[in-house]
């Protein structure tokens, strides 16, 4: 009698493929409610063991039909809906619609309005990147990062609350100006915040960027090449991390960006680490922009048109865009001469960035997929509109 000793490999290896473990492909649903959803995004993964073969995102769980609603509202009333699309850069969303309407209707705004808008937008960019950094840490297991970044978010939020009155949904930048004027001690408060944030960005670097676990999880993972990024329509830090320096603030300067000197942060390989570090550096560049603009805000009125004037756009097609914290938000308006747009379309940055995951993720494991999705910085209501 002989006793045959088997190993686990013998059990798993199918006789038809000697030397290869027999695995079966299966679908896994990361449904709309799960820890790293960042909202309500459903992703269906086709997995082979733990390796991803295909990614099928299913958006639409927050689709409220904002574009249809905008056809019933006049141009001032649309602004409050834009806050609710990409709520982390709400002021920049407002600015996109305000800019398109102003350019189309021929409303000229003065330097004070432009400077205030720029400073507020850059403060919001720092706030948005701080939240992204904290959530990235939380997704990858470092919960402390979340607490640090929210502490700093609240400190910047105090300025917004004092001037605008709201913490998250701002409704501040209207076509024709801004809603409220800044307080006399605005510059001092912002300067204190800037010196604080400079120290905090260094702290972010010390806490996460130098961490060997984070570097192992992000370096070399999920590479998006430049040509694929451009063809997919990715914009914002995702495109800049792949090596192409497309930043609307430099390419077509709007607001007061021409007066400030800053660098466009560009990555080299397009992996998750580049997308991570591009945003950390962008925080530093935003601080630099605000420092240059905060001291001389020109005097003037903060609203060029009277508050409740009816804005009518001449008939035609208008398109304009701004650079939000996630990418290029474009607004396309087709007007038939009335007070309400006949068709309004938002070119949302997260919608175009999201589909990159169908190209980047296959071949990596589930844990890498979480790192990739966090590094793309998606805000789901912006995808669904």
């Amino acid at each position: 009698m002989t006793a045959i000793v088997r190993t686990l490999d013998d059990v798993l290896i199918a006789p038809a493929h000697p030397g290869r473990g027999a695995t079966q492909e299966y679908f896994l649903n990361m449904g709309p409610q799960h820890p790293i959803a960042h909202g309500s995004l459903r992703i269906i993964l086709l997995l082979d063991g733990e390796t991803i073969r295909k990614v099928i995102p299913v958006p639409g769980y927050v689709h409220r039909g904002i574009e249809k609603m905008c056809e019933h509202l006049n141009y001032r009333q649309i602004i409050h809906l834009t806050d609710r699309m990409d709520y982390l850069s709400a002021l920049m969303n407002n600015w996109a619609v305000a800019r398109t309407v102003e350019k189309a209707a021929g409303i000229e705004i003065n330097d004070r309005i432009e400077t205030i808008r720029t400073i507020m937008a850059e403060l919001q960019r720092i706030q948005s990147h701080a939240l992204w950094w904290g959530v990235l840490g939380m997704d990858l297991g470092a919960f402390t990062a979340f607490l640090y970044s929210f502490r700093d978010r609240e400190i910047i939020g105090e300025i917004f609350e004092e001037i605008i009155g709201a913490r998250l949904t701002m409704n501040y930048i209207q076509p024709g100006g801004v809603m409220y004027d800044i307080t006399p001690d605005f510059a001092d408060k912002v300067k204190k915040i800037l010196s604080y944030m400079k120290r905090m960005v260094e702290e972010y670097d010390t806490l996460l960027s130098g961490n060997v676990i984070l570097q192992e999880r992000l370096r070399g993972v999920g590479i998006l090449t430049q040509s694929r990024a451009i063809s997919l329509g990715c914009t914002g830090p995702v495109l800049r991390a792949s090596g192409f320096a497309y930043d609307l603030r430099k390419v077509e300067p709007y607001g007061a960006y021409e007066k400030a000197q800053f660098d466009v942060v560009v990555g080299t390989t397009g992996d998750c680490w580049d997308r991570y570090y591009v945003r950390i550096e962008e925080m530093r560049q935003s601080i630099r922009i605000i420092e240059q603009l905060i001291d001389d805000i020109p005097a003037g009125p903060t609203m060029v048109t009277k508050f409740n004037t009816k804005i009518k756009l001449p008939p035609g097609r208008y398109y304009n865009h701004v650079e939000t914290a996630r990418g290029v938000l474009g607004v396309f308006i087709y007007s038939d001469g009335g007070e309400k747009p006949y068709r309004l379309h938002f070119r949302s940055p997260s919608f175009n960035n999201m589909w990159a995951i169908t190209e980047i993720a296959p071949g990596w494991r589930i844990a890498d997929m979480i790192a990739i999705q966090s590094s793309l910085d998606l805000v789901i209501p912006d995808i669904d509109r």
């Binding site: 039909g65 019933h72 390419v251 865009h321 474009g330 396309f332 087709y334 070119r347």
Partner: protein, 154 residues
């Protein structure tokens, strides 16, 4: 390239385009039959090289019974923009797909199909994207009636 030279170059290459005047940036209007060919030229020609499709949307002109497709293109090499419009019939609502030329069109066309009902010929995966698969109707059409939707105009 500035706007006039751009339009001149495009019309010289492809005489089947006409200039569109009701737009705030250089715009051309194309017929649906010539659309794939013209878009290929726009991307491949060295002086034009429109390699990024920023936005693709549609407008429902219900009184004249046609849909208008609008493409916003950008060239990363030269830094110029172009708006391309194309009218298609509202009854049949068929259009050629651009997803072979720009990958971004793959999903932007799915969104237009979902909300307008325009079907793209040659699209590899034409499914609804935001609404459920068994949703009746296409919401962004002007004649969309929904009893659940509380219509309110001020």
């Amino acid at each position: 390239m500035d706007a006039e030279k751009l339009i001149y170059t495009i019309i010289a290459l492809q005489p089947a385009c006409r200039v569109k005047d009701q737009a705030d940036r250089p715009a051309i209007e194309v017929a649906a039959d010539n659309l794939p060919e013209i878009m290929e030229t726009l991307r491949n020609d060295d002086r034009l090289s429109f390699d990024m499709l920023l936005d693709h949307t549609a407008i429902d002109h219900e009184p004249v019974a046609k849909f208008e497709l609008v493409y916003n293109l950008y060239s990363t090499l030269h830094g110029h923009y172009l708006m391309v419009t194309c009218d298609i019939d509202r009854q049949t609502a068929l259009a050629p797909t651009m997803s072979m030329i720009w990958s971004a069109a793959h999903w932007q066309e799915r969104e237009i199909y979902d909300l307008f009902g325009i079907r793209y010929e040659g699209h590899p995966d034409l499914r609804r994207i935001f609404l459920e698969d068994d949703w009746q109707g296409h919401p962004l059409r002007k004649d969309y009636k929904d009893p659940d939707m509380l219509e309110f105009e001020k």
